[in-house]
């Protein structure tokens, strides 16, 4: 049981990164980006395919993923959130379109949507604490989640740009009066969100020794779950929710069978949304109270 809980930590780190990505897009842009996971998947996929084709070492995959992912996210944000502004529903529908088109393009690419191997520099390295096996790469993913979360907290609470993003997220009009360009903040938030997402996607691919088509949808759904669980107010809350979900899913799958693993997350989200009117604090609702 403890072993599964430890494995859950790695997923917790991954969920934290995905949740942070959604936190930035939803928090600043007030838009739900349904193409988020697919964009991340596409970038890692392209990175792995190109690096694999050219026989480049593993750091190249990270670089290529970021090179593909950041412009792609900016393009999505430009089309779905900047050009389409009048109604949040239209924006969401547009990201839906991007998701469908992108996923299908990958399916029909030369790779035919087959999984792309991603080399794992830390393969088979584990720490042993008595009976407990700790995979180094899993620990690293968890650490990565925590470190990036801490950096983000620091960035948002102390740096000029971070504060500007928060003002912009709070109220675009106030931001404009303070001389902050909402558009610049949108770009900045999108870039950070996509970088965080790309790193999350890559680290997951490393732990799984490959990336496949399903990761996109899975990442989007998990990100949304974390967004609901953790709310849009505090990063530590998001990280806590993510780690909690990661562990709960693993332990839950041990108890009720692996086929039902994903049910834990969905069950929690439904329960939480159902209980939402009674829980006046926390959750998405407090994020919307403006």
């Amino acid at each position: 049981m403890l072993q599964t809980a430890v494995e859950g930590l790695a997923y917790g780190g991954l969920y934290a990164l995905l949740g942070l990505g959604f936190f930035l897009t939803y928090g600043v842009l007030r838009r739900i980006d349904l193409a988020y996971g697919t964009v991340v998947m596409t970038s890692v996929y392209l990175g792995a395919m190109i690096a694999g084709g050219l026989g480049l070492p593993w750091p190249a995959v990270v670089v290529l993923t970021l090179v593909a992912g950041v412009p792609l996210s900016l393009l999505v944000a430009y089309i779905a959130f900047f050009l389409i502004r009048q109604d949040a529903r239209f924006s969401m529908a547009a990201t839906l379109g991007i998701w469908m088109a992108l996923e299908e393009l990958i399916l029909q690419s030369p790779g035919r949507g087959r999984g792309q191997p991603v080399s794992n520099p830390l393969q088979d390295m584990s720490l042993w604490l008595g009976e407990l096996q700790l995979r180094i790469d899993h620990l690293l993913i968890f650490g990565l989640g925590l470190v990036i979360a801490m950096l983000l907290v620091r960035f948002l609470s102390t740096s000029r740009n971070g504060l500007a993003i928060r003002v912009s997220a709070y109220d675009a009009d106030v931001a404009a009066l303070l001389g902050i360009s909402h558009r610049r903040m949108m770009i900045l938030a999108t870039v950070i969100a996509s970088a965080v997402g790309c790193i999350a996607g890559w680290s997951f691919a490393v732990a799984q020794s490959g990336i496949d088509l399903h990761f996109g949808m899975w990442a989007t759904v998990k990100g949304l779950v974390i967004l609901v669980l953790g709310g849009t107010q505090s990063i530590p809350l998001i990280v806590t929710a993510a780690v909690g979900l990661g562990i709960a899913e693993r332990v839950g799958s041990e108890l009720i069978g692996s086929g039902y693993r994903d049910l834990v997350g969905y069950g929690v989200i439904l329960l939480l949304l159902a209980a939402e009117p009674f829980l006046r604090s926390g959750g998405l609702r407090s994020g919307d109270r403006r």
Partner: protein, 311 residues
Amino acid sequence: MSYWFTIAALTGINVLLAYSVYASFMSGQVSIGQAAFFGVGAYVGASLTVLGGFDLISAVLVAGFAGAAASLFVGVPTLRLKGYHFTIATVAFAEAVRVILHNLKYGRPRSSGNVGDQWLGPDGATGFRHIAYLNENGITTGQYALIVWVIVVIVVIGFFLVERSRIARILRTIEEDEVVARAIGIPVARYKVAAFVCGGFIAGMSGALYAHLLTFISGGDFIIHLSTIALAYVVIGGGQTMWGPLLGAILFTVLPETLRPIKDFRIELFGLLIILVMLFRPTGMISAAAVRRWSTPWAPKAQRKRPTEAF
């Protein structure tokens, strides 16, 4: 010919699916979870004819009620929340249902059949095979397409009547501004839930019809993509009037079949089209204003223009 009958039946099923999205869309709620009610309907409908010995029509009706019950389950707690939360809840519910359907196993052994294929009813990840009602009762694909379209016509007439009633005005008011709707005394949550449950009923019927057409279903059929495509029918066709979903679903089921070269790139074109429609004609192909213009060609020009769009 039987191929085209299959397409016709499938088109009807997709039209129903589009209307199931449209029902709650009228009140401004976007559901990306119709696959759940479609899937519940498919499993319930198929179980009733295969294991319960029901006839098709009652099975389809019961499947509709099952879909409605499922949507009530999601709708009651979540429709009180604002837009997004409801949408996220539908996604979560659809995925939860898919996981459950994927793991479902009940039924009884089959007397005949090859080794490893001797189960009647859903068999976990293998899926639900041998939904042979049409074959056993000698219903041809053509007759089945007719049955499907009779149901479609009934649903369309239903929407036609609703669209001209007070109910539609109330739903559109809720869509336009919930606060105003509440202020003038509309029980907002009740109407939203009612619309959503109607959508669930239609999706459930549609799912049962789908299961009998395909004769083989599995949890993998009811992934989130199905919900997104259903939403796309409405968004592309137009969500302001009842003609939008009809056009969207027919066009995007029939067109890929007739234009072979584009069939492989169907989904890409679909996605691209959603983006383009949202960019340049966010009302969808058929807008409320266009319907007004077409339905009253004799109206004087000054009256054609309304101060505001309905959307």
